[in-house]
């Protein structure tokens, strides 16, 4: 049995969070009453004309720059002609042979090193309206009793990103998507939430014998609504294809829907004829020619991107920790804290868990003080540590007073307190000695209370246990 290499390419649709739609002034947004965010343009009334949204054009350039793409000096909108009730004009306006962004890449950091994923293109288009097929079992238009169309979504700006078939595992695809999503979110151009449909992913999957350079027939998986489902869907399709090849069969080109509940792939009915979208340049729109100064400005304004930051953090941490820090916007604080002398893993744990839970704003934290706390976290009482983290975002915070409150572990100091607690709770002592050992925590808690949390709980534990021993 030979080993198989999965070959995966992704097509990602991102709904931009511009204030207005791609080609009209209707608001973009969720939850408004059906068909209330519409106008003659997005409803495709006779004579209505598209006017491009300048912000959307800037944002696709911004994204293209973040993905290392070449920005087209001249991009052209085309009409993609097809007939479906969610398309008010009978065509979708989309960039086609001259997209805004081409030839980019993004670096995904893997255990075995860094892997460059090619970005074939990123282009602008308008979203279709939302169909609700009522009646029938399939949720599809064939067999439905009737279909309701909500044009609120129709005309919302979308960016379509197409990767090269450079991904070779479900895990890699997932990491790529996490990184891409974080990049998009940090650019502020979309919420990119799969549950809301503002990020949609289709995967093209094929397998080939490891070492081969030949691309075999691929299938397309749609309808996956989380990164985990995408990984599961890809794994399922890879396994299916390997089985087909190994049993002497031939993989056929199909489109599958991933069923979240069963984890199964269902093939869509094959169309009788091939799609012919009869693309041609949209005569109602001039070509998009972003001035060089604009592209330069956007390039200059680009922040340091998540891919680079994850790669850097991963020199000291594993991928999952690095991802949590970067996606949480915590990596810069982590780096500064480590630079101030803190242990990397410890700092990551403190920042990603306790600090976030304390509600402190990462940007307001002085990394030097944080490094001191991280360093002392085993030595000072837990309550003190928590209290310090709660205040660490305050102006002029100093760790010193908290560091001074190192836990009391001196038995000579603690013994009298333990004795006093035992003396004051004779009933509980009897119960404990009678076998109710769960009461140990009660005595420890009383001692901690008496010492205002400063006692070292491990030492108290031992003292109480010894004193209560029959």
């Amino acid at each position: 049995m030979s080993t198989w290499e999965p070959v995966i390419g992704l097509e990602i649709h991102v709904q931009l969070k511009t204030r207005t739609k791609m080609f009209c002034r209707c608001r973009v947004g969720f939850g408004a009453e059906e068909n209330s965010q519409t106008c003659p343009v997005c409803l495709g009334f006779p004579g209505a004309l598209p006017v491009p949204n300048r912000t959307a054009i800037e944002w696709v350039v911004k994204l293209g720059l973040a993905l290392g793409c070449e920005i087209a000096e001249r991009a052209v909108f085309a009409r993609k002609n097809y007939f479906y009730p969610d398309l008010s004009k009978g065509y979708q306006i989309s960039q086609y042979d001259l997209p805004s962004c081409v030839n980019g890449n993004m670096i995904v950091s893997l255990a075995e090193g860094q892997h460059e994923i090619g970005i074939v293109r990123a282009h602008l288009e308008e979203d279709a309206a939302k169909n609700v097929h009522v009646g029938g079992r399939t949720g599809r238009i064939g067999g439905a009793e009737y279909t309701l169309v909500d044009y609120n979504r129709g005309g919302t700006p979308l960016v379509e990103i197409v990767t090269a078939p450079d991904l070779h595992s479900a895990e890699e695809a997932k990491r790529f998507l996490q990184l891409l999503r974080q990049t998009i979110v940090e650019l502020g151009i979309s919420d990119a939430e799969m549950e809301k449909g503002t990020l949609r992913v289709d995967a093209n999957v094929s397998v080939r014998p490891a070492g081969s350079e030949v691309l075999r027939t691929r299938s397309e998986i749609k309808n996956m609504n989380s990164f985990t489902h995408i990984a599961r869907g890809i794994d399922a399709e890879v396994a299916r294809q390997i089985e087909v090849w190994e049993s002497g069969g031939e993989v056929e080109q199909h489109t599958y829907d991933f069923d979240v509940g069963s984890g199964a792939l269902t093939a869509r009915r094959t169309k009788e004829e091939a799609d012919d979208y009869r693309y041609f340049p949209e005569p109602d729109l001039a070509p998009v020619e972003p001035p060089a100064e604009l592209v330069d400005r956007l390039r200059f304004e680009l922040p340091e991107l998540p891919a680079a930051r994850i790669a850097r953090v991963m020199k000291k941490l594993d991928h999952d920790r690095a991802l949590v820090l970067v996606t949480g916007g915590l990596d810069r604080l982590w780096e500064a804290t480590v630079a101030a002398g803190a242990d990397g893993v410890a700092a990551s744990n403190v920042i990603a868990n306790q600090l976030v839970a304390s509600g402190a704003r990462p940007g307001a934290v002085d990394p030097t003080e944080l490094a001191k706390l991280v360093d002392a976290r085993e030595r000072i009482p837990r309550a003190t540590f928590a209290e310090a983290l709660g205040k660490i975002g305050d102006h002029g915070f100093s760790a010193e007073p908290y560091l001074a409150m190192e836990s009391v572990s001196d038995t000579s100091e603690l013994e009298p307190i333990v004795d006093a607690v035992i003396a004051a709770n004779s009933a509980q002592v009897e119960q404990y000695r009678g076998g109710k050992e769960g009461l140990l925590g009660f005595f420890v808690g009383q001692v901690m209370k008496e010492t205002k949390g400063r006692a070292d709980p491990r030492v108290v534990n031992e003292l109480v246990r010894a004193r209560l021993a029959p």
């Binding site: 006779p46 209505a48 006017v51 008010s88 279909t147 012919d276 041609f280």
Partner: protein
């Protein structure tokens, strides 16, 4: 009605003066035209519907039925838009309203402006005021017939391959197809978007210039529009000294040009010379060899896409079927006439995978060559002159069964349309008692030169352009 105005002879400029001086009120003027319509339009069928006076402050205007009018049915001459009442005004409509013009009504057109005789209107043909047995031209035959018969002082049409210029020639009016991009297409029911252009039709060149001044200029709602490079000038000069006029050899050589049209054209060239213009021949070989086939690939291709939105779901007429698909199919089968169906099929074919490069793609390349060929000609000339139409108005039914013969009506107007250039048709004489038009084509934004030339010709000729039978 106390005010007596002779709508047959009244120019828009004169009408404006009457209103300005208070000799006639806008309401009286509107009513006078409605009276004229009541009297003569049963025969001509220039209007699809008329409107009562709505309180406007200036003179009336007729609008071709492809121009959206808020609250007023707009059908583009098609069954499929029967009952469609726009919720918005086209930009040109609102510019007319802002100028105080009152909409008299919506004029007849070939269905979706596809045709050269108005016979393709789903609501029946219009007739030529000079001879009701003949067509007024098309697609804007309604507006042309209305202006010619005194049923409107002026009007707006739309020109894709000659739909303003050709009917103007056939009815004895002045008509302008402006430079592509100078008049907003917002709210114009689209036929072929890269060619469609709204243009004025009137009795005089000055009227046309006045109306062009009202409707032109950049519109934020149409991103293909631009601001005029210079303001519109009303022509005054009766001389054309120094004007360089080119006469395309290949156009004049066309056999399709009738002898009477050719004679009128040649005498108008002689007149241009007498007025001081310098005439010379020029070459536009590609334009007249390939313009026509190029147009009949590009226009249907765009039309096939533009007409895809008519499915009977959101507006217009619907023919119900058992399923969604059947409903859409029936709606289109009943709603579209033969010509739109023919062009949808042609255009769909031209854009199809495997044919695109040979047809639509190739036509776009040829179009670029036509643009260059014209640009080269305008390095030597200010204006190019040809007849507007190879023939005078022809009898109804003459070409209706032969699409290719009908397409040939636009042989002379199409090349400059493809090049996006302005063209003015000015009456230049008669043949068989019917008007002949002179087409003057200018470089991009060259409208003012066209107005000057057209005005001088008009003044020198002093033709009586009221149809003889109505005088």
């Amino acid at each position: 009605m106390s005010a007596v105005v002779d709508t047959l002879r009244l120019t828009a400029e004169e009408a404006l003066a009457l209103v300005e001086r208070g000799d006639v009120s806008p309401a009286e003027l509107h009513a006078a035209y409605l009276d004229a319509i009541g009297e003569r339009d049963a025969e001509l069928h220039a209007y699809l519907r008329t409107v009562e006076y709505d309180g406007a402050t200036s003179i009336p205007i007729a609008l071709k039925d492809v121009i959206s009018t808020k609250g007023l049915e707009t059908t583009a001459g098609s069954r499929i838009l029967e009952g469609y009442v726009p919720v918005f005004d086209a930009t040109v409509t609102s510019r007319c309203r802002q100028a105080g013009l009152s909409v008299l009504g919506k004029t007849n057109t070939d269905e979706f402006a596809m045709g050269s005789s108005t016979e393709n209107s789903a609501y029946g043909p219009s007739r030529n005021p000079w001879d009701p047995a003949r067509v007024p031209g098309g697609s804007g035959g309604g507006t042309a017939a209305a202006v010619s018969a005194g049923l409107a002082p002026w009007g707006l049409g739309s020109d894709t391959g000659g739909s303003v210029k050709q009917p103007s020639a056939l009815c004895g009016n002045v008509g302008l197809r402006p430079t592509y991009g100078t008049v907003s297409r917002y709210g114009i029911v689209a036929f072929a978007s890269s060619l469609d252009q709204v243009g004025p039709v009137a009795k005089t060149v000055r009227d046309v210039a006045l109306l062009y001044r009202i409707v032109s200029g950049r519109d934020p709602a149409d991103s293909t529009t631009v601001e005029l490079s210079e303001p519109v000038e009303l022509p005054t000069s009766e001389r054309l000294d120094g004007l360089r006029v080119g006469v395309p050899r290949q156009a004049v050589a066309l056999e399709a040009i009738e002898p009477g049209v050719r004679a009128a054209f040649h005498s108008s060239l002689a007149l241009l010379g007498e007025l001081g213009a310098e005439l010379d021949e020029c070459d536009l070989p590609l334009s007249f060899d390939y313009g026509m086939p190029c147009y009949y690939l590009i226009a249907p291709a765009e039309a096939s896409s533009n007409l895809a939105r008519y499915d009977g779901v959101r507006y217009g007429r619907r023919s119900d079927g058992a399923t969604y698909r059947e409903t859409v199919e029936r709606t289109r089968d009943d709603g579209f006439g033969d010509e739109p169906k023919r062009r949808i099929m042609l255009g769909t074919y031209a854009l199809s995978a495997g044919y695109y490069d040979a047809y639509y793609g190739q036509a776009q390349k040829v179009r670029t060559l036509l643009v260059r060929e014209h640009a080269a000609a305008f390095e030597r000339f200010d204006v190019l002159a040809t007849p507007t139409s190879p023939t005078v108005a022809f009898p109804l039914g003459d070409k209706a069964a032969d699409p290719l013969a009908m397409y040939a009506c636009d042989l002379l107007t199409i090349p400059s349309c493809l090049a996006g250039l302005p063209g003015l048709s000015v009456p230049c004489g008669f043949s068989e008692g019917l008007p002949v038009g002179l087409q003057l084509v200018g470089p991009q934004f060259g409208e003012n030169a066209l107005f000057r030339a057209g005005h001088a010709v008009e003044r020198a000729l002093e033709l009586d352009l009221v149809p003889e039978r109505l005088r």
